[in-house]
Each structure stands twice: as C-alpha cells, then as structure tokens.
Amino acid sequence: METQEISVEATGETVGEAKWAALRELEKQHPGLDKSAVHFQVVTEGERGLLGVGFSPAKVVATVSAGAAAAAPVDESELAAETRALVTRIVDGIGVSGRIDVNEDDEVITVSCAGPDLGMLIGRHGQTIDAVQYLANAIMWRRHPQDRKEVVVDAAGYRDRRRVALESLAVRSAERALSDDEPVELEPMTAVERKVVHLRLKEFDGVETTSEGTEPNRFVVVHPVA
C-alpha cells in the first residue's frame, strides 16, 4: 500500500516562524491532525539582512502522512463534521483565526473555538457568538430536518463562565423578588442567556419567570408567586 503524504510550504522571518505558519496551515486543512506526526524540512534558513537590505525569508516544508492527518476526527459523525465545517467557514469569514474542536452527544453538537482574538468572536454581551450559533442552528436545521441536533458555539469556556454568572444573577434576583414581594426585571439578554435564567429558576420555589419586551431588548422578569 502506498502511503500518501500531505505537504505544505510556508515562509517566515525565522525558521521557527515558518514552521509555526506551516503547522497552522496544515491544521486549517486537517483540523485535529496529530501534530507529533508532522515532519519539517528546512528549505532555506533565510537571511536576516541589515536594515532591511538582503532580507530573505526562511522557508520550510511540513509533511504529514494522510493517515495522521485524518486520524483525530475519526470518531466524528458526518453531522459533527458538517457542523465543524460550517462554523469554521463563519469564524474564518469574520476574520478570527484559531483551533476548532467539536464535541457531540445525543442531543448537542458543541463547537469550541480557541485562539488569540476570541473577544472579537464573542462580541459585546456575546452578541456575535450568539448570532453565529443562531445561524448555525438555522442552517443545520434546514439541511437536516429529520436528524437535527442543537448546535452550541463556544469560545474558550465562554459559555460556562457566562452560565455561572447568569445562574448566580438569577438566584439573587429570585431572592430579591421574594423579599420585596415585587417582580424583578433583568437586563436585556439574548435568547440563549434568557433560557439559562429560566432553567435555573424553574426549580426555585416561590418564583415564576417570563420574558417581556421585543428583541433585541427582550428581558426576563422574575415574579414572586404566593
């Protein structure tokens, strides 16, 4: 059997940077590839030059066997792979670079992004990441009306951090609604965030929650019930 290999060529100011760039390019083409299986060949070391004169970049070729490139996402379902491709396309289009990991269970496909400029992907109050998630769900639902799964788009633990903060806000608001015996209105939130609050207070005795107002200023109200 012939072993197929995948190569990319990359340049950089130093050999190290060129290697890094080559690895990034390989990862982009083959998400989740086994990095330890990548071999580098230095084509030119490059010349640093003096005051910008005589500079030539370092050039390397990174090679990996097709097997190692495809090894990691081997347990990825078709649906998960498709979701990964879709979210990768959107995130790239926005101009955010990074690594994308996919996790799938019976109900949810979670796509997590890691990288240097995630603030841009998350956006103010999580607006941007929620928009990416909303569109990813709309598109996947349209493509697969039969076997759909909920898509969650995350960035470096953002959803977890946000969920913890929202749950503690929910509990504090419920306690205030009970002690003041008056409804408590929360700040406007996205649908995803409102759902976290509703769910947290579902099992909280003595309060009920509703959503009021119109998007994008829809907010949760916590009502005390007698």
Partner: protein, 76 residues
Amino acid sequence: MADLLEYLAKQLVDDPDAVRVERVDEPDAVVLRLHVAQDDLGKVIGKQGRIARALRTIVRAGSVREHRRVQLEIVD
C-alpha cells in the same frame, strides 16, 4: 465579508442561484446589498427578523477588520 454573507444566504434560501451580494462603497460606510429571490425574502429575514439580525451582527463583527462601517441591506 461579502463572500461570507453570500455563502450564508445561499445556505438559507430555496433558490441559491438567485443570491447575489452587491458591494456599494459610500464615503463613510460600505453597504452590502443582499439580493435574493422574492419568495426567499422571509428565509433571510426570519421570524421576528432574527435571521436578518444575526446576519447583520456577523457582518458588523467581520467589518472590524475593514475599519469602516458595513451595512447590510436586504433586497429582492
């Protein structure tokens, strides 16, 4: 950014061939005009305008790199 918008719109409509994004450069902003088949307007606007809002948010996020305001107009 126009590429991404066109790609997303094509995933949402029944008639992807009718999707076209026209870029209009104005002095203080870039306007992206999204053209879709008339029957597909609802598909890119969505219930309570939620798809259109998500598209706008994404276009705005992507325009940070352009250093100019990018607006999205939806036309049939």
